[in-house]
Symmetry: C2
Subunit: 114 residues, 2 copies
């Protein structure tokens, strides 16, 4: 039987890229790092994402065990998306992107002031 480990790329970077290597998944991860989010909140917060792409991305991340979907038994039912423990373990990746982006913006701003 082929296991998940067999179908992943040999390279560890490519393995990570296979799971979250898309603009949208990275932005969803960024949001979910802080707290659980509802679908419509994510849709409004992530600039330019379509309903279909958000649905597909969340499903794919759920299938990969990164995101958990919780339905609360309320009227109307409340659905929340959160990171699993596996998803939380990706925090250093999002953090390194935040650190880099912050330094880059500062660099551009200083350059603009000259």
């Amino acid at each position: 039987m082929r296991t998940k480990a067999d179908i992943l790329p040999e390279c560890p970077v490519a393995t990570t890229v296979a799971l979250i290597g898309s603009k949208w998944k990275l932005l969803i991860m960024r949001n979910l790092m802080s707290r659980p989010w509802r679908f419509n909140e994510l849709l409004k917060s992530i600039d330019g994402i379509s309903q279909k792409v958000l649905t597909d991305s969340l499903r794919s991340m759920e299938a990969d065990g990164i995101v958990a979907r919780t339905v609360y038994d309320e009227v109307p039912p409340r659905v929340e998306y959160s990171l699993t423990e596996l998803g939380q373990s990706m925090q250093p990746i999002i953090k390194s992107m935040e650190v880099w982006g912050t330094a880059y913006k500062e660099r551009l701003q200083s350059a603009g002031e000259v």
Copy 2:
């Protein structure tokens, strides 16, 4: 005049994602981290990438100041792609993906052995 700093997203993670938030750019970065590469070497090494996507990605990374294209005056001319200083400064991002991917693969392999 609108500067580069003005058109970037407010969020630093989104800024980084705007520059390297694609499967292909991340895999190109991974390769270039170690040494300069020639176009055909990259094409062969990155599984599934098309000539057009590789060309477009490299051009976009060159425009963003991440990748440098060097033409050596030989017969036939040799063209190499390498990371600029700015591109090199993204090493922690690729490294964090490598660390995560390695741990994830180990975890799957252990799970498979049970």
